[in-house]
């Protein structure tokens, strides 16, 4: 059924259809967001399981709270910031606090996800905001197939789950059947113990490229995907840092509050290591094509290589 399995939006839709075929408690809450994930096939098959609420995200989340407390598993999907900022309090007080099984799918994650829409539709704070709220599971899959797998893997998790998706123009990183490892890091490339490159989401491809270029220059990097930001696989990350002693985090997100912050906290409290955080340096983005935005805002392959070199110097 997938017309573009690399699209995270289609990955969500197809995952939802898979779940709905198997269980009747799965419902889709739309805040006029049905079309952004091309969910017409879901609507045609299960019209009674689509709750269309119009452009009203706070209502969408609070209604989802009521649905979840009445035995359903609502999947609410719209732009990431309209959930995590406009409806942040509803996510916290009416879903997180009562530990309800609402699934939030936030589109346009990062500059890559928001790209030409500009700042109002580029969400670079979603992960950081949710990381402060107790009880949220935060998943940031790298491509459409991984979103699909994350949907299947997370359906029975207690409490709320947030899945970050993009614009639908992502690159394919994994074969469709690759399971999504909830709560575990994944070492994608292992060229040595000189430096660890930690990333998630749509920057994974360029981090792999940077690691390969570093290898050509005699620098052995590990590419580590941290697709579950919360709960963080602290043991897995510590095992990596134990070997490399230094790390660069690369995330299409502000460096404040996201993976970079989580790793900094871990380093400060548990395992000394050198760190450089790449991502948005406390600034907003702008309109542009996805790849050129990442390049401009400090996440180019050169930026990653430079940061790796610098952090190795810091370590030594």
């Amino acid at each position: 059924m997938s017309e573009q399995v690399d699209s995270t939006r289609i990955g969500f839709r197809d995952g939802l259809i898979d779940l709905a075929e198997k269980r009747d408690d799965v419902v889709f809450v739309s805040t006029d967001s049905l079309m952004i994930v091309k969910a017409e096939p879901f609507l045609e098959r299960w019209p009674e399981r689509v709750i269309e609420l119009g452009i009203a995200e706070q209502n969408g989340v609070a209604v989802s709270s009521g649905l979840a407390s009445s035995g359903l598993i609502p999947y609410i999907c719209t732009y990431a910031g309209f959930l995590t900022m406009r409806a942040c309090e509803q996510m916290r007080t009416f879903v997180g606090y009562p530990k309800l099984k609402v699934r939030f799918i936030g589109a346009n994650g990062g500059l890559y996800g928001g790209n030409r829409e500009g700042v109002s539709h580029q969400f670079i704070e979603d992960v950081g905001l949710l990381r402060t709220i107790p009880g949220f599971t935060i998943l940031c899959p790298a491509d459409g197939g991984q979103v699909h797998q994350a949907m299947l893997a997370s359906v029975d998790i207690d409490g709320p789950v947030y899945i970050r998706i993009g614009s639908g123009k992502e690159k394919k990183m994994f074969s469709d059947s690759t399971p999504f490892p909830i709560g575990k890091i994944r070492i994608i490339e292992d060229f040595g113990n000189d430096v660890a490159l930690l990333t998630y989401g749509f920057t994974l491809g360029r981090v792999i490229e940077a690691a390969r270029s570093l290898k050509e220059r005699g620098i052995g990097a590990k590419v580590v995907e941290v697709a579950t930001i919360k709960p963080l696989d602290t043991e897995g990350i510590k095992a990596v840092l134990d070997k490399t002693g230094c790390v660069v985090t690369i995330e299409d997100h502000t460096i404040i509050g996201g993976l970079g912050s989580a790793v900094a906290e871990l380093i400060a409290e548990e395992i000394p290591a050198s760190l450089v955080r790449l991502g948005l340096q406390d600034v907003y983005g702008e309109s542009g094509f996805p790849e050129e935005l990442l390049d401009k805002y400090g996440m180019s392959i050169d930026d990653i290589m430079t940061a790796a070199t610098q952090v190795i110097v810091k370590k030594n």
């Binding site: 009674e48 119009g54 009203a56 209502n59 609070a62 209604v63 309090e89 606090y97 530990k99």
Partner: protein, 274 residues
């Protein structure tokens, strides 16, 4: 046959419990709890299809106290109905209590919805009501909002959606006591005309005296017969109704009884028994 005297006594007991809780624990919102006492008495002791021995019963009617700060009244109704011991009432807002400062469903048996932050209850109730439709279950959902709370835009997002979708198993009481924390609602937020607003969003509307047991019972009965729209019942109430010294004095929005006031409450509402 509705036993009006019994329901009036249930409401008196709720008010008396509120006094006891606030006096003993030195915290809480007395007069907002008093204004909803009669509505809660009718819902919990007459109208709602509930079973305290099976609080998670899937086909039970649901209740959402959107104005969560009135929870002392809700806790009293639940305890008197048998969801938990009345001994717990005087643990309100104390460390390790099951009776949080605002309703928290996971901790308090019988509480259907976590609330407290104003403006959210109609949406939560709408979700519960839609779940009945999706799961093909037969139950009603009742929500009580304040009138000051109508300043929250989310109320009207929910009103539009519920009216648009003709969610008929949802009934919202507006506790129209005319006061909010900062003064009269006319002065602070200007919600009038209230009934017309709900009607404009496609709701069936009724106006009643929110302290008249018979009118509350009948309004709920009428709301149940409306099968093509949600129902809004604008209940004219008096903040502090039941204790004359609280009426017209908005400091009772959140205030603790002195010994003398407590003794006066005992005279007016009777002695307290667990």
């Amino acid at each position: 046959m509705v036993d009006i005297k019994f329901l009036e006594d249930c409401a008196r007991r709720i008010r008396r419990d509120v006094v006891e809780m606030v006096y003993r624990t030195k915290d809480g919102h007395p007069s907002p709890s008093f204004s909803v006492a009669d509505i809660l008495a009718v819902l919990y002791f007459h109208s709602m299809k509930i079973d305290p021995s099976d609080p998670e019963w899937v086909e039970r009617d649901r209740f959402v106290l959107s104005k969560g700060h009135a929870c002392p009244a809700l806790y009293s109704a639940l305890a008197r109905k048998g969801y938990f011991s009345t001994k717990e009432l005087t643990t309100l807002r104390m460390l390790n209590t099951n009776l949080q400062g605002h309703p928290y469903a996971p901790k308090t048996t019988g509480v259907d919805a976590t609330t407290g932050s104003l403006g959210n209850g109609v949406s939560v109730g709408l979700g519960m009501a839609l779940a009945a439709r999706i799961r093909k279950l037969d139950y009603q959902v009742y929500v009580v909002t304040g009138d000051g709370e109508l300043g929250e835009g989310l109320i009207w997002e929910a009103a539009m959606a519920a009216g648009h979708q003709r969610v008929s198993n949802l009934t919202v009481f507006v506790d129209n006591n005319n006061y909010q924390s900062g003064g009269t609602v006319e002065k602070v937020s200007g919600p009038y005309p209230i009934k017309e607003k709900w009607a404009d969003f496609g709701w069936h509307t009724q106006s009643i005296d929110g302290h008249d047991i018979k009118q509350i019972v009948e309004a709920i009965n009428i709301a149940k017969t409306v099968i093509d729209r949600p129902s809004a019942i604008i209940a004219k109430t008096i903040k502090g109704k039941g204790l004359p010294f609280m009426v017209g004095d908005n400091t009772w929005h959140k205030r603790v009884y002195t010994d003398a006031e407590y003794e006066q409450a005992e005279i007016e509402l009777g002695g307290w028994t667990e």
